[in-house]
C-alpha cells in the first residue's frame, strides 16, 4: 500500500510539472501571436 502511495506522489508531481509546462507554453504562444 505504501509502495503505491509513493508512486502516486511521484506521478502527481510529474503531471503537475507537465501542466505548468503546458500553461507556460500556452501563455508565451498567445502573447507572441498578438
Amino acid at each position: 500500500m505504501r509502495k503505491s502511495a509513493v508512486t502516486w506522489r511521484n506521478i502527481l508531481l510529474l503531471i503537475a510539472c507537465l501542466l505548468v509546462f503546458y500553461l507556460v507554453v500556452l501563455t508565451i504562444a498567445r502573447s507572441l501571436a498578438q
Binding site: V6, R9, N10, L14, V20, T27
Partner: protein
C-alpha cells in the same frame, strides 16, 4: 511536528525484523518504517524501501532548482537582448523561469526514478556486505527514545543518527 528519519544498520534479517517489530509495538506505524538491504530481502518480513526506493525526490528538487535558475537566467538575457519587435517584460522572465523549472523537474525526476537513492550512498558498503538499513520517521521529540529502544535490543547496533533532509512532501 517535524519528523526526522533515523537510520540503523542491522547485521541480519532477524535483527532487522525484531527492530521493526519493537518499533511497531512502540506505537510507530509501519508506514513510517523502511528497510533496505540486499535484493533478496524477504519482502513479507520487512517493510519496503518507501521513498528511498529511488532517487526521484532529490533529483526532482535538483531539477526544479536548476531549471528555474537556468530559465530565469535565460529570461534576463532575453530581456536585455530581445529584438525590438518582441516585447519582453518581467512577466516573460518569470514565465521562462517557470518553464525551466517544469522541464527540469520532469526530466531529472524521470531520470531519478532509474537510480538508487543518493541519500543511501553512506550505506552502500553496508548493503553490499548484506547488512540491512532500517529507517524510521519519528517526531523530533521522540528521537532519543527510539534511539534508546534500538540500542537496548542490541548494544552493538550501528546507529547512524539523524539523516538531515526530512521528506519535503510526506509519502
Amino acid at each position: 511536528m517535524m519528523k526526522k528519519r533515523l537510520c540503523f544498520v542491522s547485521p541480519d534479517v532477524e535483527h532487522a525484523e525484531s527492530v521493526v517489530q519493537h518499533l511497531e509495538a512502540d506505537g510507530i506505524p509501519r508506514k513510517n518504517i523502511y528497510a533496505i538491504g540486499p535484493p533478496d530481502l524477504p519482502k513479507e518480513r520487512l517493510p519496503g524501501p518507501g521513498p528511498e526506493r529511488d532517487d526521484f525526490m532529490p533529483a526532482f528538487l535538483r531539477g526544479i532548482t536548476f531549471g528555474a535558475g537556468g530559465g530565469l537566467l535565460i529570461g534576463v538575457v532575453v530581456l536585455m537582448f530581445a529584438p525590438a519587435r518582441i516585447e519582453v517584460g518581467l512577466g516573460g522572465v518569470l514565465l521562462l523561469g517557470l518553464l525551466g523549472a517544469s522541464v527540469g523537474g520532469l526530466g531529472t525526476g524521470i531520470f531519478g526514478l532509474a537510480f538508487p537513492s543518493s541519500r543511501l550512498e553512506p550505506f552502500a558498503k553496508d548493503i553490499e556486505a548484506g547488512r540491512i538499513v532500517v529507517m524510521v520517521d519519528v517526531p523530533e521529540d521522540q528521537i532519543e527514545r527510539v534511539n534508546a529502544l534500538v540500542r537496548r535490543l542490541n548494544p552493538d547496533v550501528n546507529i547512524e543518527g539523524v539523516e538531515p533532509p526530512p521528506p519535503v512532501i510526506p509519502p
